[in-house]
Symmetry: C2
Subunit: 525 residues, 2 copies
């Protein structure tokens, strides 16, 4: 495993950065509200191991048996040819491909364990892998909602509003895919409009969908133009990423293989995330679902390394369970937490960056939405996740991005950020003298030790209502969702676009407008 | 450190026990609903260390400096005499007592690292310490609420209802103090009525308050009578526990020292839990609050060992922060989580059982209540907590026990229970053959591997609504609190008291009625 991180690139979390202030506001664009500064979090403790090394090995070996004895169906003829060239067992007249375990492990060994994702604003570069955490906005919801206008299919205005919220909030390190699918834009040119918005309305790293070669090529080009760099520099600097969800069980379709080919060839990031729902597309046992997840992830990652040795990739974990009564997918469950933890152990076994999510199955921003999300965060953080997709906004099993949930999640993520910030254990923080000065029976309010620190001592939450019952009742007994509704509207109204060189903007628009005029991409996927 | 656990006493979590069924129902009394069987959870992974061993040592050493240089005010004259006899620095004419570090550590070293708490129903015995987790009902709320009748001061009927819910739910291993204070019972006899209820309406281990010698003595006697054992056996078998909240900063009052004397003398459990709110009764730095917590906890634990070497004790962590704008206590915050983790590191440094809590500051069972509680659970579980107080029902910073929150917490705790249950990694669970049978592009619904397991494969939540949006909307868009309201009423209606030998009941009533006739205990505390 190699380390592609340039020294000094990781943004250290300083006390000042953590607590917000002017630097924080500027980094986030021009946000008119208090928030912690942009920084990349690190997980400062050893991830939790819930299976022993021997048990992990049994999952690893079972997944290699799956790849060797059962194999995967690869629908892309060119991909099968590449696989055959690299020694995979490919038979004429069948899509089934089987892999020798040693070959798979040798290929996976070429993947970097850590690399930098380059944003058009270098202050928003992030390191993927190691003990670093990248937090991403929700992606790919067909619907969105707020409590004023209810639930509705996605449209361009809502799409842009979510991008603006992602840009404004420093805890969101990158945008993911489309927070909501804008179905009012024709599918042939949707990727052009949407990726231009990602490149213009935000200055953070973004994702492009692997839905046909043209969309990958266009997305990579827009990322290059937005950064104003050459193709050679782009090849050396991962700047955009794609999520490849295998068709579980054990199927790799044409667009996803094409996506791996295009992205890996261009030195861009491929995150292979099997969608292994235990009891539906994967075995009803979590262990079995993890075996399948691991087999599918390794097959995609090995293929990316066939395309280009050293291509930046990541191991995605998304194993959850279904409600066996209805078949409905469940999220933020205890089974999901365990799968997140073991997924991290597997990714680290291969020294690969690890992708997780912040999910729930709730239909509204109630207690269920909160507990399923915090259980997800618990699994993702203790599992040592390096990139948290869907971190803000996710509701209804991913079928909806909610404006209120976006604010709730931002608050939860900022709390996680504070939790991950190491304690100050300096002599002054240990406070023996302050304890002496106050003495038995005294009080620390108003002491110099408190006065010097109280403004920045603790995380100040966005939503938590800490008023006493009487004051809270007099205020109309508001719940968290009502406050979130007020907050997203206030904040969105203060959005200002990040600066962009007019020459770059012109070149970008020239490209996008030309491609739109050409008709965009085929829509027969 | 010694290990007082008798071999084989820990209740192992078997697959059958975990998934409920008839055994589960019987163990819980006569519950008419599905739930996991009574079992004691174990934390199957290494607790999370957020400070290094060196950093931990700096907290430890600073707290010893506090005890040596500053000392604590001990208001109980007899306690000061005992401390002086054991070598503490006690000066005539002052309440201040200072402790030599070596003396403190030598005394703390006599405390057992693990022991069994004996319930009147031996099936409900629990082990305190090691990797074992004991889950307790909420305690000490002045108010209670449900969404039908709103918020109200505690009364005997509500008090009994909470005890019944604690008895019926297997995830609740023990009752804590009074879930709500029944102010309709005169304070002089309240402890007699309440502890009798604890001993009769439940058959689990309970807590008694240290509010004057008579209350400790009466509570210990009721526990002995309920178990039908001799004083000698009680001395060898911890059966009841008390929480000692120091008067932070650095003050030990008369009732709490009397409580330690009575409980430790009788071989019963003392949990010393400083109430160190960072920014109010403790330094505004979490490190400083932990130094103070540790000094206060060690002073109480050392005193218990002066009273009786080997007395069962525990280290309680309750450090949280206040809202620096209003002074209101906050719970379930990132600072609280960090304090829980370091508290666990400290308790393990002294090889002491560790007590945590499940808290929140929310005024209603909304998203805030859920996220603050799950953050609390995260800190408590990853911190290696051995006894979780206030685990079900806590709302409003401890000022209220809520019937709906009780059900929400029970669901959260059952999810934690499932999370802590080790994965099945047998050959059959790894499911290579099932994956082969289904093959690429297939589906696992209806396969024999799924059919044989689907009923018990996953935790079935009490509150989570996993219906799709359309079905959920048609059902009136219910939120989690509404379902919780229905559930607690249905379940409470099915309560049946646990069996008690009529001779024991007669003796118990004889004692309690005699003590009530005598007037109970003084109320001038």
């Amino acid at each position: 495993m190699t380390d592609m991180t340039l020294p000094g690139e990781a943004l250290a979390g300083t006390e000042r950065a953590r607590r917000g202030g002017r630097a924080g506001k500027r980094a986030g664009g021009a946000a008119a509200f208090e928030q912690p500064a942009f920084r990349q979090l690190k997980i400062p403790f050893a991830p939790t191991k819930i299976v022993s090394d021997d048990e992990l090995e049994s999952i690893h070996l079972a997944s290699l048996r799956v790849l060797e004895e059962i194999g995967v169906d690869v629908l892309h003829e060119g991909a099968r040819r590449i696989m055959k060239e690299h020694g995979a067992d490919v038979q004429a007249g069948t899509e089934r491909v089987r892999f020798d375990p040693d070959m798979v492990l040798e290929l996976v060994g070429h993947a970097p364990s850590q690399f930098t994702l380059h944003a058009r604003n270098p202050a928003h570069n992030v390191v993927f892998g190691g003990d670093n955490l990248i937090i991403s906005m929700m992606a790919s919801a067909p619907n969105c909602s707020d409590i004023d206008r209810g639930r509705r299919p996605g449209n361009q205005e809502d799409y842009r509003s979510f991008l603006k919220l992602a840009q404004m909030h420093n805890i969101i390190n990158i945008t993911g895919g489309y927070p909501v699918e804008p179905i009012d834009i024709h599918p042939s040119i949707r990727h052009l409009e949407c990726v231009r918005d990602l490149a213009v309305l935000t200055d953070k790293v973004f994702h492009i969908y692997s839905l046909g070669m043209e969309r990958n090529v266009d997305g990579i080009e827009i990322a290059r133009l937005a950064r104003g760099i050459s193709r050679e520099q782009l090849l050396a600097e991962p700047s955009v990423f794609t999520i490849i969800n295998t068709n579980s069980p054990l199927k790799l379709d044409i667009p996803m293989m094409e996506g791996i080919i295009q992205m890996a060839s261009a030195g861009q990031v491929v995150v292979v995330t099997p969608f292994t729902l235990s009891g539906a597309m994967a075995p009803v046992t979590i262990a079995g679902a993890l075996v399948q997840q691991n087999a599918e992830a390794l097959s995609g990652i090995a293929f990316a390394q066939m395309v280009r040795k050293g291509a930046p990739v990541a191991y995605g974990g998304f194993t959850s369970n279904v409600d066996m009564k209805s078949g409905a997918p469940a999220f933020g469950t205890p089974e999901y937490m365990k799968a997140q933890l073991v997924g991290g152990q597997l990714a680290r076994r291969y020294a690969l960056p690890y992708r997780t999510s912040n999910t729930c199955a709730a239909n509204t921003v109630d207690a269920q939405a909160a507990y399923e999300s915090v259980f997800s965060l618990w699994g993702a953080i203790q599992g040592g996740g390096n990139m948290m997709m869907h971190a803000a906004g996710w509701l209804e099993g991913g079928l909806r991005c909610s404006f209120e949930k976006t604010i709730l999640d931002i608050d939860l993520l900022q709390m996680v950020g504070e939790f991950l910030t190491p304690l100050d254990l300096s002599e002054d923080a240990l406070a023996v003298d302050a304890i002496r000065d106050v003495g038995p029976g005294g009080h620390f309010f108003g002491t110099p030790h408190t006065q010097n620190r109280y403004k920045t001592a603790f995380y100040s939450p966005v939503l938590s209502d800490w008023r006493n019952f009487e004051s809270w009742s007099e205020a109309g007994s508001p719940t968290a969702i009502e406050k979130a509704n007020r907050v997203w509207k206030e904040r969105l109204a203060s959005y200002e676009p990040p600066a962009m060189d007019p020459a770059i903007r012109e070149e970008l628009d020239g490209f996008v407008n030309r491609r739109i005029a050409e008709g965009g991409a085929p829509t027969d996927f």
